[in-house]
């Protein structure tokens, strides 16, 4: 029986909030603070209505209801996937025991920390994207931006619900702190580095939603395996919404590449900057940057924290239940490639349980490859020889065993001076950023689109591209 979401309540939910007065009061106390945060840190562009998708139930069908909504009137709430009453823990030392419906005291601090870190990333991207509405290339894109933003806001609600419902006073304090840290703030920055970077232009936004939101997908995927059932169910539902963000990224980069390919064919030159397009090598540099910053989000290749979380049952592997091993990993080995000061790579065999971050990152990299293939197909179909590629995972890293080494996109270990000389070929330079920014003029007219990006193949929910997605 699919649980309907109660939109009549002050806080829409499918967790029978009205039966829990204490929790309801706590969340109703947080709600105005969230609204203040949205007003202050949310989208800078004001609109009269955006054609948004809103979940009405958490079942297969119910999460896609479309209508024009003024963003600040969006009904953020708490939606958990259906509960499987027979769910059992799939890994670690509690494997086979029933999933926990309450936080075990022993793991309270660890679980809280995991939820706080996940929660901290959600509103961060809203903050990072605050100004993008002012330079949207079309109403369609503007609508997608708002869709992403309101859902990131809801993901924050999802984590805040867990903090309020299961972690007492401390949880409520942490929930409040999520609103007081702000992306890029010199005083109280977001916890993870990537969420303090600027998302200054739309190419960056597409890259962010492709690469960084995809990290989110994998992190949520591991939390979905958690023995703590409410966390698992929350993440399962978030994953559905996350899929759309990645759709924005995938098709966004698609459309930029498509437009660049058109301009290359039209003018018979790779140098399309003067024709209002984004050159392919510049797109590659953006890709390099966003990909490597996102790799940092996976943490160190070796991690005892991740191992501890796994053993305790707090955080599993991607698709844990489909893995064919003992789900303990203490006796399994895996190899780790390490850069050496003499410029060579060595491999070290280690206990698999210590390399869980690497395992997850491997899944992620394989997924990222699929996008690159897609974009290359566009180039191939247009008869252009240029090919995008993911840089070596050691390139431009600030976290883990590769940080402190100077590794080129093809995986060669070089000295600092050589690397610095290559930097402008590999990563967006100030000129690149200035150029891309110079293209960012808003196009708010129905059916029109900016010069540097192709229109989408399909509109939203069967609507045409020239539909009035946003009332300005």
């Amino acid at each position: 029986m699919p649980t309907r979401i109660d939109y009549d309540a002050k806080i829409p939910n499918n967790v029978e909030l009205s039966d829990n007065r204490r929790l309801q009061r706590a969340l109703e106390g947080w709600q105005p603070k969230f609204m203040n945060w949205w007003a202050e840190m949310g989208p800078a562009l004001e609109t009269q209505g955006v054609y948004l998708r809103t979940a009405v139930s958490v079942g297969r069908e119910g999460w896609a209801h479309f209508d024009h909504v003024v963003p600040q009137d969006y009904r953020w709430g708490i939606f958990l996937s259906e509960r499987d009453p027979d769910r059992r823990i799939a890994f670690g030392e509690h494997r086979g025991e029933p999933a926990w419906q309450q936080v075990p005291g022993e793991y309270r601090a660890d679980l809280q920390r995991l939820i706080v870190i996940q929660g901290d990333t959600e509103p961060a991207s809203v903050e990072q994207q605050k100004l993008l509405g002012l330079t949207a290339p079309s109403l369609y894109d503007l609508r997608n931006l708002f869709q992403v933003n309101v859902e990131e806001g809801r993901h924050l609600w999802a984590m805040v619900y867990l903090l309020h419902a299961y972690f007492g006073k401390e949880g409520r304090e942490e929930a409040e702190a999520l609103l007081y840290r702000n992306s890029g703030s010199p005083d109280t920055p977001r916890i993870l580095g990537a969420f303090n970077e600027e998302t200054a232009d739309w190419l960056a936004f597409y890259m962010f939603t492709y690469f960084t939101d995809r990290d989110g997908k994998y992190q949520l995927g591991t939390l979905k395996e958690s023995a703590f059932d409410p966390l698992s169910r929350t993440c399962e539902f978030m994953l559905k919404e996350e899929a759309h963000h990645m759709f924005v990224g995938t098709t966004g980069v698609d459309r930029v590449v498509t437009r660049s390919a058109e301009l290359i064919r039209e003018h018979d030159t790779m140098d399309i900057a003067s024709h209002g397009g984004i050159p392919l090598d510049l797109i590659q540099r953006y890709l390099n940057f966003h990909y490597t910053v996102s790799l940092d989000l996976f943490g160190s290749e070796t991690s005892t924290n991740a191992a501890n979380y796994y053993t305790s049952g707090l955080k599993g592997r991607w698709m844990e239940t489909r893995r064919k091993d003992d789900h303990q990993l203490t006796d399994d080995a895996a190899t780790l490639e390490k850069p050496q000061p003499d410029g060579t790579w060595t491999t070290e065999e280690m206990q698999k349980i210590l390399l869980l971050n690497l395992d997850l990152r491997g899944e992620y990299i394989a997924d990222c490859e699929s996008g690159v293939k897609r974009w290359n197909k566009i180039l191939g179909d247009a008869g252009i020889d240029f090919r995008f590629r993911l840089p070596h995972p050691g390139f431009n890293r600030k976290v883990g065993i590769n940080s402190g080494h100077h590794i080129t996109p093809d995986g060669t270990i070089v000295d600092e001076a050589t690397w610095e000389r290559g930097r402008k070929h590999w990563l967006p330079s100030d000129e690149d950023l200035t150029f891309v920014r110079s293209l960012m003029h808003p196009v708010y007219e129905r059916g029109k689109i900016a010069s540097w990006v192709a229109p989408p193949r399909q509109g939203i929910n069967g609507k045409p591209f020239d539909y009035e997605y946003v009332y300005l």
């Binding site: 601090a109 809280q112 005083d187 916890i191 991740a306 053993t311 305790s312």
Partner: protein, 538 residues
């Protein structure tokens, strides 16, 4: 086992940066991950091992002697987002038991040194906690007069040993939290069972830190607070420091020799004979103290099987008294520093887990400051007769009490060694006071209770041999426990609590299977597997 040297120079520090900007000094922790004293662990996140703390000790020491112009010291981290993650757990897991305990002892002596500089030298320490601060990292901050915590909504202070590790958090941190900072005991309990620690307003409300400072203003506010502390300082204006030159030391397998101190190592009997020579040149007290300090540290760290230390002196008692008078009556900053340095060195002896035996013979100079060495010992033997190798000589052993023995060099319990020896016996102490500044014979020393025995020249050699052999036959652990009990009579202080617990609890908890067994906390740490605890409470 690595032989550890305690020689350091600021220009060669691997883990710290010392910057002097009078009246302030910045002491920034920047631990080199690959700079561990022993192989087998990486010093991640500003975690430390003995080598890191030796440099800290050196810096604290040099600031006192070489930089009288410094009135406040800012202790902070050069790393982003982390102040200090505490003692390196892999190092602890890989270390033998005595190394662990010795390490904890040394780090606490360094922290006491920081507190001593703040209290007695007008060099006031301020901890600028600019990121995560856990375990021993917080203990370093606790040693400072004030703790400023960056208010970035994520940095915390924590003592996570209980919930994260399952070993003793009582290496000084807990005691300083309750006794020094007067954190309420229920809150201390909550604090010490939270793996993630406490941040922000709560940390201030609970007195775990003194002030929160916004991230952007951090450096500026820290400097301002340090200047305010500096203004309170009693440190002299316009004084010039002295240079602590490298020690002149010669080491062989049987002997460690300095100009004023010699140690003879007898591995067969497990005895070290330490001879301290009386003054022969100016600046003797400081020179001798530095040598003795270095020797104590080297023996403690590198020679755990030499369980008995015999302390001797050689020289002229009058010269000792003259040298001590200069320092004791001196009103200058340097005299003050020397006095407190000698005090700290004696305290090091007090907490050393070795049997300490003083031999007072003709030609010795156990007068005043050097008599403190004998009083620090577990037993004192005084030869009542001529020198053993010259029975025709008129020379006789003597001891001399002076002002130095009545409060100038308090022990960790806050009492002088004489007050500890004659605890609560005020009349006896008054009597001793009246016997100051004259040579006391063996007979008088026995009568006054200053020595354990005074054998004559016929019995001396046999008597001493039997004492030393008998000592060596006893259980070293039992001796450690017994000595630590006897040495600290009377009131508890923060120091006696810390060192008492290091001696007793740590000896116990660190060797329990829950910590050191194959499935214990230290072995399992970092493997991703949980420790298995024997659930019985003992």
């Amino acid at each position: 086992m690595t032989t550890v040297s305690f020689d350091r120079r600021p220009e060669d520090y691997r883990h710290w940066r010392l910057r002097v900007e009078p009246p302030l000094a910045w002491l920034e922790m920047d631990v080199d991950e690959n700079g561990g004293l022993v192989d087998g662990y990486e010093l991640k996140l500003n975690s430390y091992d003995l080598g890191v703390d030796i440099e800290l000790y050196d810096a604290v020491q040099r600031l006192r002697f070489e930089h009288p112009e410094v009135r406040a010291v800012i202790l902070t981290s050069a790393k982003d987002k982390v102040f200090c993650a505490g003692a390196n757990i892999r190092m602890l897991a890989g270390s033998p038991h005595e190394w662990k305990v010795n390490f904890c002892k040394f780090t606490n002596e360094t922290r006491n040194g920081i507190e001593d500089a703040t209290e007695n030298s007008g060099q006031i320490y301020l901890a600028a906690v600019n990121g995560t601060c856990a375990g021993g990292g917080y203990e370093i901050a606790l040693a400072c007069e004030k703790i400023l915590l960056v208010d970035d909504n994520s940095s915390t202070v924590a003592l996570p040993e209980v919930p994260l590790l399952g070993v003793l958090p009582g290496t000084g941190g807990l005691t300083r939290v309750t006794d020094k900072r007067r954190v309420r005991k229920d809150r201390a309990d909550v604090f010490a069972t939270r793996p993630d620690g406490v941040k922000g307003r709560t940390a201030v409300d609970w007195r775990l830190v003194d002030e929160l400072v916004p991230r952007q203003d951090f450096r500026q506010v820290v400097e301002q607070r340090a200047r305010e502390l500096a203004a309170r300082s009693t440190r002299p204006e316009d004084a010039t420091g002295i240079t602590l030159e490298p020690l002149d030391r010669e080491v062989t397998d049987e002997r460690i020799t300095y100009p004023n101190v010699t140690a003879e190592l007898d591995r067969d009997t497990g005895v070290v004979t330490i001879t301290v020579r009386g003054p022969r040149a100016d600046g003797w007290l400081l020179a001798m103290t530095r040598e003795l300090d270095d020797l104590i540290l080297r023996l403690r760290t590198n020679e755990p099987e030499l369980g008995t230390w015999v302390l001797r002196t050689e020289g002229d008692p009058d010269a000792v008294l003259a040298a001590e008078r200069e320092v004791l009556t001196g009103t200058d900053w340097l005299s003050n520093e020397i006095l407190h340095y000698y005090k700290r060195t004696l305290k090091r002896l007090d907490v050393t887990s070795r049997s300490l035996i003083a031999l007072i013979e003709p030609g010795s100079c156990f007068a005043g400051v050097l008599l403190e060495l004998a009083l620090a010992c577990d037993r004192q033997y005084m030869l009542d007769g001529p020198p053993i190798d010259d029975e025709d000589s008129d020379e006789r052993a003597c001891v001399v009490l002076s002002d130095a023995n009545f409060g100038a060099f308090p022990m960790g319990n806050g009492l002088s060694r004489l007050e500890s020896r004659f605890y609560g016996e005020h009349d006896h102490l008054d009597w001793l006071k009246r016997e100051r500044d004259r040579r006391l014979s063996a007979g008088e020393a026995v009568e006054l209770g200053l020595v354990t025995e005074a054998p004559d020249d016929i019995d001396w050699e046999d008597e001493i041999r039997i004492v030393l052999e008998g000592r060596a036959a006893l259980s070293p652990d039992a001796l450690t426990g017994m000595e630590a009990n006897h040495r600290f009579v009377g009131p508890e202080t923060i120091e006696t609590k810390i060192f008492g617990r290091l001696t007793a609890w740590q000896n116990w908890i660190f060797t329990r299977p829950n910590a050191s067994g194959p499935d214990g906390a230290l072995r399992r740490y970092g493997t991703g597997q949980k420790a298995t605890f024997d659930r019985k409470r003992v």
